[in-house]
């Protein structure tokens, strides 16, 4: 029943995320023919500065469909929206049930705090997994509609990179939620951390290959065909550590 409770607590965040991401995935695929028509205009764009460099790089990637999907979906739409929903799903939980939300009722159940937290984390991660894979698997399904094809294997590997590395944002929000009684502080702090990390990757280009967002996008796999094992391992280790500290934090809390 704790699973059911976790589902009730997070279902709207999950369903809204799933709907938005699926629409976005469909939009990316269906917009491809129009994007192709616009590509010849790109060289006329202002080529000075970081923005011009990024436009040229994106245009270069989009010359084939796989590159287009990577640039538009895995490196942009999915990456940004999924991160936001990872933070949303990680925020809240046991403490944030707040007044009238049943925290004492939950604690009066014959279940250890580790179990309460474990179920909440597992349910959130399962929802995140679905958010990473379900919209992504729409790509191979819809691509024939625009006369293209996209490999299921590619979709799964990019989804795995996104989930494996991006779970750090879920875990950070989850950890903070065991310290703060409200939904908003874990949410805002983790989003702020994500924005700072993203900006660091933009400003310090030489550091961008170490960025969690680079690992999440599966750029290494896209360019070399190899999985970013080191980045994934580091992210998963950080995630596991944060989830562990969340249990330690909750175990010592008084209610």
């Amino acid at each position: 029943m704790l699973w059911y409770k976790s589902w009730l607590d997070t279902r709207w965040r999950f369903l809204i995320g799933l709907t938005l991401l699926m629409f976005s995935a469909a939009g990316v695929v269906l917009a491809y023919p129009r994007v192709i028509k616009l590509l010849p205009l790109v060289p006329t764009a202002d080529d000075g500065g970081e923005l011009g460099r990024r436009i040229r790089e994106a245009a270069e990637l989009m010359r084939d469909y796989r590159g287009y999907v990577f640039a538009q979906w895995f490196r942009q739409n999915l990456l940004q929206m999924w991160t936001i929903f990872a933070v949303l799903l990680g925020s809240g939980g046991l403490l944030a049930q707040g007044s009238g939300g049943g925290v004492l009722f939950t604690l009066s159940m014959p279940a250890t705090r580790n179990r309460l937290l474990g179920v909440r984390a597992a349910a959130g991660l399962a929802e995140l997994l679905a958010l990473a894979f379900v919209p992504t698997l729409l790509l191979p399904l819809l691509s024939p509609a625009v006369g293209e094809s996209y490999g299921v294997g590619d979709a799964l590997i990019h989804g795995a990179c996104l989930f494996g590395a991006g779970s750090v944002f879920f875990s950070l929000a989850f950890l903070l939620s065991t310290s703060y009684d409200d939904l908003w502080r874990p949410l805002l702090i983790t989003l702020a951390a994500a924005v700072v990390l993203a900006l660091c990757g933009q400003v310090f280009r030489q550091l961008s290959r170490y960025s969690v967002f680079t690992v999440m996008s599966g750029e290494t796999y896209f360019r070399t065909g190899h999985l970013p094992w080191l980045g994934l391992l580091a992210s998963l280790t950080a995630s596991a550590a944060m989830l562990y500290f969340a249990t330690v934090n909750l175990a010592r809390r008084d209610f």
């Binding site: 409770k5 009238g100 049943g102 014959p110 580790n114």
Partner: protein
């Protein structure tokens, strides 16, 4: 000896930052009793209950329920499996309806009483499809009681179960509780600052003040042992110091000396008569007076 008490705490202390919520609380609740836990607001009642249920960890001292240490995670799960609980705020899940709350709670308790569930649903007139957040305060209390009573629990811990209820609803809730307990072998430990309701349903009482139990025992014994001895003198009352145990409080005002005896009233009376008062009155004391005298004695 330990088996005859469902709840036992010894020198229990709980500190929140600079605030000492419990200051050496020692308490024993006999099995099968209905024990009222009386105290002023902020006396430490809710903190005690939270410690007993593993929601707060004691700073020092021991809290044992069913012979199990309340501060150990595994033991605490066992304690909660055998305990029904209603919190002060009637904490429930606002997003669920009545039926969902019941379906959520029941699987946690192997001894869940489906027969009682149906009975209380009818008796409390709880609409199964109504969201918890749409329930009135009274209905919410009834649902919280249903969820506690149907657990097949050996111990009920109720934190201010009737707070915020009107007198009619309070009476209904108390009657439901008394009827339920009469038909089951269970212990009830309920906190309150409503002396009348403790007087109405409890057979034992523990009075807590500033984090310590200042008086505890069977209610009948307290009523039997507590006496107010009023002495009137023809001049100013003497500044008498009574020897021996049983003197809870001595008040001197003009010609009147009032002694509150918590035990040995006869012996104290003999001692009082030796002061040659003009008149001596011995009157029984109500629970309210005992509470007020005990608590104010601490001021």
């Amino acid at each position: 000896m330990a088996d005859s008490f469902v709840i036992e705490t010894a020198d229990l202390r709980k500190q929140y930052g600079d605030v000492e919520a419990l200051r050496g609380l020692s308490l024993q609740v006999p099995a099968g009793s209905i024990c009222g836990f009386l105290g002023r607001n902020g006396a430490g009642k809710t903190t005690t209950i939270k410690v007993l249920l593993g929601m707060a960890r004691p700073t020092s001292g021991s809290a044992v329920v069913f012979g199990l240490p309340a501060d150990e995670q595994k033991a605490s799960v066992d304690i909660r499996r055998r305990t029904g609980f209603v919190s002060d705020e009637k904490d429930l899940y606002d997003s669920m309806n009545v039926e969902e709350m019941i379906r959520f709670t029941a699987p946690f308790f192997p001894r869940w009483r489906g027969d009682l569930e149906q009975r209380y649903l009818r008796r409390f007139e709880l609409p199964p499809d109504r969201k918890v957040k749409a329930l009135s305060r009274g209905m919410r209390t009834k649902l919280a009681l249903l969820l506690a009573l149907c657990r097949g629990a050996e111990l009920l811990i109720l934190d201010e179960p009737t707070s915020g209820l009107d007198p009619a609803m309070t009476e209904e809730a108390l009657q439901a509780l008394v009827t339920h307990v009469a038909g089951e072998e269970m212990t009830v430990f309920f906190s309150s600052h409503q002396i009348a309701e403790v007087d109405q349903i409890a057979d034992h009482v523990a009075i807590i003040d500033r984090g310590r139990v200042v008086l505890a025992g069977a209610l009948d014994d307290l009523r039997e042992n507590f006496r107010r001895i009023q002495l009137v003198f023809d001049g100013d009352a003497p500044d008498a110091a009574f020897r021996g145990t049983g003197v809870a409080r001595v008040r001197r005002k003009g010609r009147v000396l009032t002694v509150l005896a918590s035990a040995r009233a006869e012996a104290i009376l003999d001692e009082a008569r030796a002061l040659n008062p003009v008149s001596v009155d011995v009157v029984p004391v109500t629970l309210k007076e005992i509470f007020l005298e005990t608590v104010s004695a601490e001021d």
